[in-house]
Every structure is written in C-alpha cells, then in structure tokens.
Amino acid sequence: MKPASKFPTRQATLALVAALVMNTAAHAERSASEVSQASMVPVAISVALPVVLVGGVGSIVVTSVQASAEGTVWVVESVADGVKGSVCFAGRAVEAAGIAVGTVLVATAVSTGTVLSNAGRVVAFIPNEIGRSLSYNERVSR
C-alpha cells in the first residue's frame, strides 16, 4: 500500500508558506492607484518667510502655532539671523504634521517652491507661482 500519510501535511505546509510569502510581498508593494500620504502634503496658502530662505536652504524654528476656524498659522524665525515670518494653511490640513512650538524645520528651495521638512520628512510645501499652478486637491465623490 502506498504510504500517503505525509502528502496532505506537506501540501498544506506548502500552501501556508506560499500564503505567508505572498502576504509579505503584497504588503511590501503599494497599489498603483492608491491615494497616499505623499499627495496630501499640506500646501501653504500664504507666506511671509525670511528672504534668506526663499532661494536656498536654511532652518527656521516654529515659535508659535495659531489655530482658528479658518486655518493654521505658524509663526517662524530664521535660525541664522532671527528674522521672523509666517506660513498660513487653510483648514486643518497641517494639523496631522503635529508641529509643536520649538520644532526646527529645514527649508529647501525647489523649482516649484520651498519644501519644509522635519527629520528628513516633508511636513509642508510652500508653492511659488509655478508650484501654485501645479497644486490642487479635491475629492469629488463621497
């Protein structure tokens, strides 16, 4: 008689291993059409930044965070020379970034505006004229 004892066990084990491997692979790979946090970077609606930061790289410290029904205003100060400025965001878009008073942000100029980052992660984008023509976000369906 043919010993069939190990076959179902082996088959089930293989299926389990395959399912686990595929599970790992599936989680490592994002869907092509998935909305992501990246496209939800808060975009400033108005700004008065120290001139030194507009065209290059520099650091600013957030000295005040003022939230209102209309939006959020960060009052900032240039680390290099103490010049003050402000960055305004509409609504509650920027709250998720969790920026507290005393946070130091790196401002990096790109062709479309200025990117504000904290510990290497972008927390907000300040568009210039070109950036404004490129940025928009609206959910149309519920």
Partner: protein, 292 residues
C-alpha cells in the same frame, strides 16, 4: 491518530494566520510623509509634464503614470487619468503674466513675450488605502506624481478635437464625472462586469459615456466599448497567486470574472496599454508621448 492531530494543529494554525491576515487586509495605507528628494523629483516631473502638455496645444489629454512595477506582466504604465487645462492662455503679445512663465527671449533679434504656464487638473479614481473602496479626485499635476511612483515618468495621448470637447464637458461637471463611478474597487476588476471598478476602467467607461450620449450607465458604456472592439489585457495569474492576493488584500477580488476564464488563469482587466492601443486603433487619440 498522530497524522490526524498534526493536520488538526496545522488547520488551527492556518485559521489563526488567515484571521490575522484578514484583520490587516486593507490597512496598507502608508502614512509616512515623503522625503525631500522624492518631493523634489515629483515636482520636477510635474513641471516637465506641464511644459509638454502646454506645448501640445491640447485642452484635454489622457495621461498615465508608472505607479507600480508591472513589467512582469509586460506593462510599463499602471494608472490612467484625464488631464485638462483650466485656464485660457492670454493672446500673443499680452504681458499679463510676469511670474510662472517659461521666460522671455529673442527670435530674429526681436523680443518675444513670455509664455504663460498652463494650469492643468487631473481627474482620476483613487483607491482608499488598500481598502475595497475608491473615490474620484481632482488634483494638480504635483499631487498626481507625489503618489510615490515606481518610475518618475509619464505618458500621454492627445485625443482628437471632437473627443477633447466631449471629455471637457464631463470633466468640468462634478455630477457627470461620477456618473460612471462605482465605489466598490478591485485592482483586477473584470472589464465586462459592474460589480467592481478599477481606476483605468473608470477612465475607459467615462470616455465611452462622454462619446456616446446613450451610454449613460456603466452597462451601456461597456456595451458601447464591446461594439467598438475594445480589447482588455489578459493577465496570466495562477490559482495560488489569486488566493494569496484575495486573502491578503481587500482591494483584490476575482469573483466578478467568469469561472471558465478565472479557473484557466485567464484574468482580463483594463490596462493603460490596452487603452492606448485601442484609442490609436480607433483614431480616438494619437501616439503616446513619454515625458521623463
């Protein structure tokens, strides 16, 4: 007896794993903010695409990005959207635009005015963080490429003028934009079923509905597409891979596919390549332009 115990233990283990996997399915949304380099790359591509679209002279284009590596299926592009220009360029000689231009220069020794940059909107369908649901969004070119693409490249086709005019009517009207939208989402939705709808399929059915007034529902849009010989891409996905996908991701389903095709690993779905090819064949649009 020992064998039975072993099998029982294995079965309990499998159920526990399956339960854990099901619990996490659909929670794949990456909440990590992007880094400065990827934002700069996305912005750079958005700007190059803007220049290319402006130079095309089109008002509406159909645009693709490489959000995911699908080369194992012989596909270069993964996600399709409509892009349409919302501003009207000022007439030649106008000096209304100072910033946001391509700059001024001279031609034959005479100064020529700066060319204003176009403002383009993307209309597309996005899956909600790996769940079985999706929604329609209107975004800027920057947001379109900020979704961490696999390759920082884009491809677009320019529809003929009649098609552009028909699409523009729909793209600027919120009600019509969602007319062919079904929230239930599967990344491999069957093209001839209305149970689920993936992003490229929404674009295809919306295009059909824009061109044919009688194609006012998804069923009718699909009938029109069959009549006009749209051919979906056939992906060969074996049973084990289908099972793994179904178990681990909420946005993967195969139960809308006919059994005969499904069980022969023959999965038909709407892809960018199949749409580009069909639009060219039917003269709805021209050859794709690639922007890198």
């Amino acid at each position: 007896m020992i064998r039975a115990r072993l099998l029982l233990r294995l079965l309990v283990g499998a159920i526990a794993i399956a339960t854990a996997v099901t619990a996490t399915a659909g929670q794949t949304c990456d909440n990590t903010p992007p880094d400065t380099v990827s934002v700069a790359r996305a912005m750079g591509l958005a700007e190059r695409v803007q220049r290319s679209l402006d130079a095309s002279g089109a008002q509406v284009v159909i645009i693709a990005r490489a959000g995911q590596d699908l080369t194992k299926y012989g596909l270069n592009w993964s996600h399709l959207a409509f892009a349409y220009r919302v501003d009207t360029p000022p007439p030649y000689g106008s000096n209304a635009t100072i910033l946001g231009t391509y700059g001024t220069g001279t031609a034959a020794g005479l100064p020529y005015p700066a060319t204003p940059r176009g403002t383009w909107r993307i209309a597309h369908k996005l899956n909600q963080c790996g769940t079985a649901q999706a929604a329609i969004y209107r975004q800027g070119l920057a947001e379109f490429f900020l979704d961490t693409p696999f390759r920082y490249e884009a491809a677009y086709v320019v529809p003929n003028l009649e098609v552009q005019a028909a699409l523009l009517q729909v793209l600027t009207d919120d009600q019509r934009l969602v007319q062919w939208h079904t929230p239930a989402y599967s990344v491999v939705a069957y093209p001839w079923s209305t149970r689920y709808q993936q992003s490229n399929q929404w674009a295809l059915e919306t295009l059909a509905g824009s061109l044919e007034p009688a194609a006012s529902t998804r069923e009718r849009a699909q009938a029109w597409l069959q009549l006009h010989d749209y051919q979906p891409t056939v992906l060969h996905i074996d049973a084990l891979t289908r099972l793994g996908g179904r178990m681990t991701r909420a946005n993967v389903a195969f139960d809308d596919h006919p059994n005969a095709k499904r069980f022969s690993d023959h999965i038909e779905t709407v892809t960018v390549e199949s749409m580009f090819s069909w639009m060219q064949r039917t003269q709805i649009a021209g050859m794709p332009t690639v922007v890198r």
